[in-house]
């Protein structure tokens, strides 16, 4: 799939998504409610303390905002369920008959699907990060910006890779939609994007280190808050490369074997 075709799919997805304007009003409302619900806890936890579990009170609100932004961008529903349905109902044959490489198509669709929610969530962040709501010292330091953007992008790509694994898993499984919901919930509640990972019980932290979950929340958020040392930045990048290689390998295997097995109807 060349760059021109990729940008066409991207543009088309954005145009189709813009048809559903009410969805974006709901995404903004949902984001605001999430901020209110999390701030309800954080404001009381930090009421008498300047720092809790490595998170400074001055950064607490920024943590909530960036967490909300990250979750808005990362969580995927539409392209994932569409792809699973295509596999189930035979529509996936167009990727065999036409010169379309499904992983690229999926990426273009996902980017297009997330373009306007990203704008909405960024808009909310900018409003709340304005001097009206936040003190200037809680702004993201400019020199942290490149690494933060990189960590947000890589983290999101890795999670989308996990979604793609489930999509290709549906070549072999009769029912996989619950895995998507479970992945969304786990990535939202256990990745450190709702609460700093350092607040979790030690045993849970140790278990989570063996999973890619910290890469989906803890890493980009700590990067955004300037809480990572150089060693930690390098360690996280290495860890990301390791998980990305595992995911990419599995995706290739499942995609190839799935296509061999695929008989247009019924997978």
């Amino acid at each position: 799939m060349n760059a021109k075709a990729f940008s066409r799919v991207l543009k088309n997805t954005i145009i189709v998504d813009l048809e559903y304007r009410f969805n974006y009003a709901m995404i903004v409302l949902s984001s605001l409610i999430t901020i209110v619900m999390e701030w309800a806890i954080f404001s009381h936890v930090f009421a008498t303390r300047s720092e809790v579990g490595g998170l400074a009170a001055s950064s607490a609100f920024a943590f909530i905002l960036y967490g909300m932004l990250l979750r808005t961008v990362q969580s995927l529903w539409g392209p994932v369920f569409t792809s699973i349905e295509e596999i189930r109902e035979g529509g996936f044959r167009r990727y065999i008959l036409q010169p379309i490489f499904h992983p690229s198509y999926f990426l273009a669709q996902s980017l297009g699907n997330k373009a306007t929610p990203l704008l909405g969530a960024t808009f909310i962040c900018l409003i709340f990060k304005s001097p009206l709501f936040s003190s200037p010292d809680t702004f993201l330091a400019l020199h942290e910006l490149p690494y933060t953007l990189l960590s947000f992008a890589l983290s999101t790509l890795l999670l989308w890779g996990a979604y793609l694994l489930i999509v290709y898993g549906s070549f072999f499984l009769d029912e996989s939609s619950f895995l998507i919901v479970s992945l969304n919930i786990a990535a939202s509640l256990m990745s450190g994007s709702q609460l700093p990972l350092s607040w979790y019980p030690e045993t849970v932290q140790k278990v989570l280190l063996w999973t890619p979950l910290p890469l989906w929340g803890d890493w980009p958020l700590r990067a955004a808050l300037g809480m990572l040392t150089l060693d930690e930045k390098i360690n996280y990048l290495t860890l990301w490369a390791l998980w990305a290689t595992i995911f990419a390998g599995l995706i290739v295997i499942l995609y190839r074997r799935g296509l061999q097995r695929y008989e247009s109807f019924g997978g």
Binding site: F22, S30, I33, M37
Partner: protein, 263 residues
């Protein structure tokens, strides 16, 4: 009459069970999803209480009592209402609501309780387990009268939830697409997943006066724990009366307006 409806409800439950057991993997998957969600919520509060012993006047056991009560209400919502809520808009739009009106029983009862979502049983069981754990933990020391108040006001909260939800669903008689309204309802309902005294005053007022999510779980729990008293025993009933009246009007006018397919 109630016995007949109870028997009918058991028939609906049996039918839903058979239908959902046809897709065993799907059902196990939905159970698994609920378990992950419940564990995530518990982990959230456990992690917060590892950092601070209490906040906003809530101790760890009290919060678990609140979360247990929340699971009870949310589990009941999932078990009894969620499937019916999702289907109601389509029923009206496609004219299948005709079959509800033609049957020799209350169409409202059918609309509310025809389908069951068995995944709600996971939340209900977790709610029962967590509430019993919190109650027997020693710290709360609730009398049997307090427990009776808790159960009574939770039932009122659930009644309120049914009325609010069905009032929103009934808007399907006037507008074509209600899924976004259901989404809006769910987002506002989500505000009730935290004790309302954690929120700033403006939002608390909103949850008391505009969208009464505070009366679903938070107020019943606080009444049982003795954190609220006096007029707070009356407010949930007032809300229930108001929401029943609104629902009656909306339902009557809606069904009178309904003309079969694409009304």
């Amino acid at each position: 009459m109630p016995v007949r409806y109870l028997r009918l409800w058991f028939e609906f439950a049996k039918n839903s069970l058979i239908r959902q057991l046809e897709y065993k993997v799907s059902m196990i998957g939905r159970f698994m999803t609920e378990i992950i969600w419940l564990s995530g919520q518990l982990l959230f509060f456990k992690s917060v209480f590892l950092q601070v012993p209490h906040f906003a006047g809530w101790t760890e056991t009290e919060i678990y009592f609140f979360v247990g009560s929340l699971y009870l209400i949310d589990g009941s919502f999932m078990l009894f209402l969620s499937e019916n809520q999702n289907r109601f808009g389509d029923l009206v739009r496609n004219g299948l609501f005709d079959f509800y009106l033609l049957r020799p029983m209350s169409a409202f009862f059918m609309a509310c309780f025809r389908h069951l979502n068995l995944a709600g049983l996971v939340n209900l069981s977790a709610g029962v387990g967590l509430s019993i754990w919190a109650l027997t933990h020693g710290e709360l020391a609730l009398s049997s009268a307090d427990i009776a108040i808790w159960l009574l006001y939770l039932a009122v909260g659930f009644g309120l939830l049914v009325c609010l939800l069905m009032s929103v669903c009934c808007l399907a008689f006037w507008i074509t697409q209600t899924s976004n309204l259901n989404w809006l309802f769910f987002e506002l309902y989500r505000l009730g997943w935290r004790p309302e005294n954690l929120y700033p005053l403006t939002i608390r007022r909103f949850l008391w006066v505009v969208f009464p999510a505070a009366f679903l779980v938070s107020v019943p729990v606080q009444l049982a724990l003795g954190k609220l008293s006096g007029a707070w025993f009356v407010y949930p009933w007032l809300w229930l009366i108001v929401s029943i009246s609104v629902l009656r009007v909306v339902w009557r006018r809606g069904t009178a307006r309904y003309e079969g397919a694409l009304s």
